[in-house]
Symmetry: C2
Subunit: 349 residues, 2 copies
């Protein structure tokens, strides 16, 4: 029997983590009688005076937001990381290792209106978001080893507020995922003399089958090793190492690619598509002067939906205990995203 | 300032994975306005003729279940793994690594009634479940390198059927998590001359602060490195390497510990507490004859709830991109679970 990826279970290696993903494409036929996601609220007003992220509104701690008209950044009122913590006592017991964690957490609103999301914003408005990311990164990367810009979108992804916003968590340490990635990117670079993700871009451009959106500066693919059904990887084609390397011309193209990708996402199941996304680039702070030739700036999109606006993939049981498992193949996901309209948002029809 | 674990953010190392967990205990004060879990169905009948896991009922593929009175095992009608697959072609490109995946998936019903769960079953009934796990393991471990017994419980954990059941997924390969664990346990054993988890049991018994339930054969703790709010680790105190090493006397004690732990879980938020759980022990199949001195049989419980029956922890954004983050400390979680009734189920009150 001839191996056919869309029919036969197999595993694929994620070279960025060293983790394998089990691909079981025939499982798409399985009936689903489990949990349905709650329908989304569609009656959000432009301005909601009870929303603590809205311009001019008082947050629970009493601070009143300015009457902002573009982006707006403030320190999280319940930060997971703080700047001045006592250092935990050192332990030489390998089973009880503790280490210090300092940092800061900011919230960044994308837009004054509560009822728009990135795909509904103009390229100029998204470019302003990118400019603000870079401004924040310039400031925070001076002080912190790791600056994580990320967006949790939608209730299914634990987002507690529909107002368009992202978060920026800064760490005095290199967190586990970027630490592993840094090691793997470095070891590939030492072996092949080129950044892993630059080689990957080259090969995906040749093979074409996993491309979702592209322009001269950016490439979006469903990676060969995607774990989430419609996971994508947004890659710099310019050897940018960090988000603040992105030139003004590349910013507009980044805004275009983000708009097109998120319109496609929303159009796929005709809903405001939930996801967690974030940028990974070379470490900063005390690592700023280190050799980072092995890095390539990229963003990771992890969307949970599988079959429709209300049926998600659960990463549970086998996945938590063994390894990620996916149903449709990355190539099938890429084809669906490639073919769907990326220009006109479904709400405009 | 003196370091206080319940007040100051810090990181803890999971020695089984090498991953760190960010602990931010002060975040418990944060208000929650996000997604609420759907209330559970409480009107499930003893026997539901429309439930494909019930005795005597026809499954969607036409097979009629026997009129079983104890446990009942069958091959999953939509298995993620199958026994006869063609092998994918080998690639020497490090960015496009594929490997074969063969195996089988079984479903195991715990009880003929659809409306009981493990905490509501008698110790004898739970012992019968353990006997069936061992019987299945004896058979499947001859053939497969990895036999994963796991239970997804509750709609929040992607479980699509309330009938009490677990799954057994068998793999021709060692999946990512057990592969990493095997390496870490071995390297600890090589360095210290004792199994890591045997040392861990010893130290937790001395320290007491993370113990939830114990008896002479088994210990349940909220591990020092727990990621999920009420995550627990059930450890063998007898140097069992695999579930089929568990002697008849130890089986009854295992049933008692499972009953007590799951009653505590249900009583915590007065609901049928969702979780994914599974056993990890030494690899089998072609690895059966290898030296496995470094292994200790254990079960991992990953429950998602954080504050109440309807408010869960979301492992999203920062967690997916960086590392797990938890709010209350493992010691606080252990104390709550230790203090809550583990004998009388809340529905009996
Ligand atoms: O096989 P089930 O119970 O229908 O499916 C559930 O468990 C599987 C194994 O953990 C997961 O892959 C699925 O995402 C989940 O919904
Ligand atoms: O800070 P938020 O948006 O309230 O919280 C959300 O994002 C955080 C960072 O990914 C997670 O730790 C929380 O579990 C999630 O609910």
């Amino acid at each position: 029997m001839q191996f056919v990826a869309t029919e036969h279970p197999h595993r694929r290696l994620n070279p960025l983590t060293g983790h394998w993903v089990l691909v079981s494409p025939h499982r798409m036929l399985r009936p689903w009688t489990g949990q349905q996601e709650a329908p989304q609220k569609s009656n959000i007003p432009d301005f909601d005076p009870t929303n603590p992220l809205s311009p001019g509104v008082a947050r629970p701690n009493g601070t009143v937001n300015p009457a902002y008209t573009g982006t707006f950044v403030f320190t999280n009122d319940f930060p997971a990381l703080m700047e001045n913590n006592p250092v935990p006592p050192a332990s030489d017991d390998p089973l009880f290792q503790v280490s210090e964690a300092r940092g800061t957490c900011r919230v960044m609103c994308f837009h004054p209106k509560s009822n728009v999301t990135l795909p509904q914003m103009t390229v100029a408005e998204i470019t302003a978001v990118i400019e603000e990311w870079i401004k924040q990164f310039n400031e925070l990367s001076k002080k912190f080893l790791w600056v994580q810009v990320f967006e949790n979108k939608g209730a299914a992804m634990g987002c507690s507020n529909p107002h368009p916003h992202c978060q920026i968590w800064c760490c005095s340490f290199l967190p586990t995922e970027p630490l592993i990635k840094d090691e793997r990117l470095r070891s590939y670079y030492n072996q092949y003399g080129r950044p892993l993700l630059a080689d990957y871009v080259k090969r995906e451009v040749e093979r074409k089958e996993r491309i979702v959106v592209e322009n001269p500066d950016w490439l979006v693919v469903v990676p060969f090793w995607a774990a989430w059904p419609f996971e994508t990887l947004l890659l710099s084609r310019n050897d940018n190492k960090r988000i603040n390397d992105v030139t003004p011309a590349q910013r507009e193209n980044l805004a275009k690619v983000i708009k097109e990708l998120t319109i496609k996402y929303d159009n796929l199941f005709q809903c405001s598509f939930p996801y967690s996304m974030g940028f990974h680039g070379a470490p900063t702070g005390e690592a700023a002067a280190a050799d980072v030739s092995h890095w390539t700036l990229h963003a990771l999109y992890y969307p949970p939906l599988l079959r429709s606006a209300s049926v998600r993939k659960f990463m549970v049981g086998f996945e938590l205990l063994n390894e990620a498992q996916r149903d449709l193949t990355p190539e099938q996901a890429a084809q669906r995203l490639r073919e769907i309209d990326g220009v006109r948002h479904y709400t405009e029809n």
